[in-house]
């Protein structure tokens, strides 16, 4: 969608929504919110960005493939559950620590990192579905030529460096 208004508003809106999604994630333990809903908000933020600037822009902004993010989230959640083994308590038991940070006590827990994992899984899965669907529906969006992959570059390098092979070929 190529409207000027959306293009102008989108970056700010996306940034704001992502910030909000993290806020929702963190307040979840005591007030309405949590990982699921936070992940959904973040996914919609990136959807808005995608509608305004196209799939390529979102992929570049995210740096990682969304599925990688989802995988990392699942890994994080599983690890959060497994930490309890080290303390000899059953799987998925919540463990808390209260370190002091700039004079304020900050409660941290495996429950929180578990919820963060949930957030990442939801975000990654939904964004990857949305991007994959969106990518195909706008095939003309190929403004930026894709970088040549290492596989495409390698044969040239090899040819130059391998004199025996070149001799064979000239024969």
């Amino acid at each position: 969608m190529n409207t000027l208004i959306l293009r102008t508003v989108a970056p700010g809106l996306t940034a704001l929504m992502l910030l909000f999604s993290i806020f929702v994630l963190l307040r979840g333990h005591n007030e309405p919110g949590g990982g699921f809903i936070g992940g959904l908000i973040a996914a919609s933020a990136l959807a808005i960005y995608g509608i305004a600037f196209g799939v390529g822009a979102v992929r570049r902004a995210m740096r990682f493939h969304p599925m990688t993010i989802a995988g990392a989230g699942l890994f994080m959640s599983t690890i959060s559950g497994l930490v309890s083994i080290l303390f000899g308590v059953p799987f998925m038991t919540g463990l808390w620590i209260y370190p002091s940070f700039l004079g304020a006590e900050v409660p941290l827990s495996t429950v929180m990192s578990f919820d963060l994992g949930v957030y990442l899984v939801v975000l990654g899965s939904i964004v990857s579905i949305a991007l994959a669907l969106e990518q195909d529906s706008e095939p003309e969006e190929q403004a930026v030529a894709p970088l040549p992959s290492p596989a495409e570059l390698r044969p040239e390098v090899k040819k130059r460096r391998d004199p025996r092979r070149r001799a064979k070929e000239s024969r």
Binding site: G35, L133, E134
Partner: protein, 776 residues
């Protein structure tokens, strides 16, 4: 030693498996000579089991085992009596010879290591089968022998015949194994025990049970398929596609006897009933006759032997079910004799094949000068198979006639069967063991010479053993036959027959058998031609029936797949929703659970009514929308209205999530719609719309009624109270919903996010597949 006993036996039981793991490395490292090394595994087990001989001969049993799954009353436990011990010795003893023999027979084969590995794997399975005490262990080993037999028959997997034979054997014996499992479950249910050693004392309870016949038929299905009884006999000759060591070991000496073993094992428990004494002799006798008749037609050495094996198995089943102690003793003697001479003859056939490259008895002749040692082994084995005096086969045959001959009509009938069967087997034995070695040397076998030591050791040893065991009857009866017969009859039995012929009816019948056999041998070509004509007039047999069955099964599964997976999304979705409506509505009607229609709430607030109206407007808009995009967005309106209603009724978390889900569904649905490149609007005839509308209304109605009904049930507040009370105290969170998600029920959530991720991956894969197909 006493304390170490069980542990050592446990090791002995697993030695073959260890050998199976080591086999490929041993062959790669040492070549053919690796077989000597590998033969140590079964040889050690053999020696261990020999140590039990005095104890078992004294009438004791050796048991041992370890708990496996105590909560299910399952144990890995073994039970060694005369029957198990004899089988164990046969398996490990002949197994040792077979491993050595395979070293030479398969020499130079690129997959010799794999072959030996399979052989040892089978050995472990078979050994486990015969010592198993627990039913489950018996079944697992039973199926494992089927699987390893499949691997061995199909060893030469590049030939189609081998693949077919392997599959056939697996289907027949594996299918029988499943029947056996059902039979064992019956036994367990009737008697309440899961161990063979405990079952022995519960025979009367079992025989009086109304389910006795069902259990018997299922067990017989297992035993008959494994032991190739008519009409399942066809897989065994086809299994001759396997290399000769396999035929010698699995398909004559050991595996095919598993069915007979099972029948012998269950004889004290299930035997002595009319059903047992009718079914077993009938099918056994039929198999004896079928096997010898079909064997007469063959010219291939291995196939002749295979059919005589079928016949011998029939004879064993017949004797086991005949119902007299003498018949059991005869079965024991014949089983021992058969394992020795048939194993030897198969190895001879393999050696001849290995040296000359052919197995056709009509073309082979005059090999006695080229292969004298092989000839000697063949002759000794054939004399035992023919049941001539001084050989173990003679003891068996005397005992058979002694058991069968009692004068009543039933006995006369079976005696006649046995005489015909034995006479034909006599003729076939010499057709294989004598014919290729005498006469004028054929030109095709000019440069043939004797096989190496490794190829000769097995057949010679087994053939000589058949003579030695008969010449020292006291020893062999005391340690092997009598304990085995005692185990089968479950009472002290002493076998005392010797090789000295004594005047009587059995000897007369023996002479008759030999004369008849000589006659058939003398006219074997005419007999073969005659049999061929008879078989042609009979038409195709069960082997062809198997092909028809398999082809039919494939056609049927294609039909079912087409019906259930037509590949059209429309049909899947329609079927899913119809089933949903049925699942929702039918129980409500059938069980009379229809809810009472609730009264319209009087004190409805204005904002509640307003959002209800908005939801309704959204739905009407969906129905009236001209194009798809409008419909999707209108559906969003309805969803948002519902989210607001959640909020009004005090469920902020739910409402929050509902908002986001609605937003994203609108976005993703729109993307899917654009991606599918459908027409912007949807024009369908009334004929299509009406059924869809009916299904939609039925689903909606179903959900409404179900929700109303569940609201009528008094709500159990215990969980709510628990979570409210403890959320803050033990989980340090004030938001009960989130605490449940991430802490109280965290494992559920872990499962859910895994599902989310897998769904994402699946969708991604589907999109990629389509994209890949579109871009050439």
């Amino acid at each position: 030693m006493a304390a170490m006993g069980p542990a050592l036996t446990f090791c002995a039981l697993f030695l073959p498996f260890v050998g199976a793991l080591a086999a490929p490395f041993a062959i790669t490292r040492f070549g053919d000579r690796g077989a000597w090394l590998l033969a140590l595994f079964p040889a050690l087990a053999f020696m261990h089991f020999c140590g039990f001989l005095p104890e078992i001969a004294a009438g004791e049993v050796a048991t041992g085992g370890y708990a496996w799954a105590p909560s299910f009353n399952l144990s890995f436990s073994w039970f060694l009596d005369g029957l198990s011990l004899t089988f164990s010795l046969l398996i490990t003893g002949i197994g040792t010879l077979i491993v050595i023999y395979s070293g030479a027979y398969m020499n130079g084969h690129p997959q010799q290591g794999r072959f030996l590995s399979f052989i040892l794997l089978f050995m472990g399975a078979m050994l486990g089968l015969v010592v198993s005490d627990s039913f489950l262990m018996l079944f697992i080993y039973w199926e494992l022998t089927s699987v390893s037999s499949f691997l061995l028959i199909g060893f030469d997997h590049e030939r189609e015949a081998a693949r077919r034979a392997a599959l056939q054997a697996l289907i027949v014996t594996g299918g029988g194994g499943l029947c056996l499992l059902a039979g064992l479950v019956f036994l367990w249910n009737i008697t309440g025990v899961t161990q063979l050693s405990l079952l022995v004392h519960l025979g009367d309870a079992l025989r009086q049970s109304p389910f006795y016949l069902a259990a018997l038929l299922l067990v017989l299905a297992g035993a008959f398929t494994k032991s190739a009884q008519f009409p399942f006999h066809f897989w065994l000759p086809n299994a001759m596609e396997a290399p000769a060591p396999v035929s010698a070991y699995l398909h004559s000496a050991t595996m095919v006897k598993a069915g007979v073993y099972l029948l012998m094992r269950l004889n004290p428990v299930m035997g002595d009933t009319p059903a047992w004494e009718i079914l077993l002799p009938f099918f056994g006798g039929l198999t004896l006759l079928t096997g010898t008749m079909l064997g007469l037609r063959q010219t291939d050495m291995k196939l002749i032997l295979a059919y005589t094996t079928v016949a011998s198995l029939g004879l064993l089943v017949m004797l086991t079910g005949f119902g007299s102690p003498h018949a059991i003793q005869a079965a024991v003697l014949y089983l021992l004799a058969h394992s020795l001479f048939k194993g030897a003859l198969f190895m001879v056939a393999g050696a001849v094949d290995h040296e000359t490259g052919m197995r056709d008895v009509t073309r082979l002749a005059g090999l006695r000068t080229a292969m004298p040692v092989t000839f000697l082994a063949a002759l000794l084995a054939a004399l035992s198979m023919g049941g001539l005096p001084l050989f173990f086969g003679f003891l068996a045959k005397e005992e058979i006639y002694l058991a069968l001959w009692s004068g009543n009509p039933r006995a006369v009938f079976f005696t006649l069967l046995a005489v015909i069967g034995n006479a034909l087997m006599f003729a076939l034995a010499f057709a294989v063991a004598l014919k290729p070695f005498i006469g004028r040397r054929a030109a095709a076998t000019a440069g043939v010479h004797e096989g190496p030591l490794m190829l000769l050791l097995g057949p010679v040893l087994l053939a000589v053993l058949g003579l030695v065991a008969a010449l020292a009857p006291g020893l062999s009866h005391r340690y092997i036959s009598s304990p085995m017969a005692s185990a089968i009859t479950d009472e002290k039995t002493v076998i005392d027959i010797t090789t000295m012929p004594h005047w009587g009816m059995p000897l007369l019948l023996s002479v008759l058998t030999v004369l008849l056999g000589l006659l058939v041998y003398w006219r074997i070509d005419a007999a073969r031609a005659g049999m061929l004509r008879v078989l042609e007039s009979l038409g195709p047999g069960p082997d062809r029936g198997f092909d028809i069955l398999v082809a039919g099964l494939i056609r049927f599964s294609v039909l079912v797949t087409r019906l259930l997976q037509p590949g059209r999304l429309e049909i899947y979705v329609t079927a899913t929703f119809i089933m949903l409506a049925v699942a929702l509505l039918v129980p409500l009607f059938v069980f009379g659970e229809m809810p009472a229609l609730p009264a319209w709430p009087r004190d409805m607030l204005i904002q509640e009514a307003a959002f209800l109206a908005i939801a309704l407007i959204g739905i009407i808009a969906v129905l009236r929308a001209k194009d798809r995009l409008t419909a999707i967005v209108s559906l969003g309106i309805q969803g948002f209205a519902v989210a607001v209603i959640f909020l009004l009724f005090g469920a902020p978390d739910l409402s929050f999530t509902q908002f986001m889900v609605e937003t994203l569904s609108v976005v993703i649905l729109t993307l899917v719609m654009t991606r599918l490149r459908l027409d912007p609007s949807d024009h369908r005839p009334l004929g299509q719309m009406l059924p869809d509308a009916v299904i939609a209304i039925a689903c909606g109605l179903g959900f409404t009624l179900l929700l109303l009904r569940s609201l009528e049930v008094p709500f159990d507040m215990r969980l709510t109270e628990f979570f409210n009370a403890y959320s803050k105290v033990i989980a340090h969170g004030a938001n009960v919903v989130n605490v449940i998600i991430v802490d109280f029920r965290g494992t559920d959530t872990l499962g859910e996010i895994s599902v989310v991720m897998i769904t994402g991956l699946a969708v991604l894969a589907l999109i990629r597949v389509r994209a890949g197909r579109r871009a050439p």
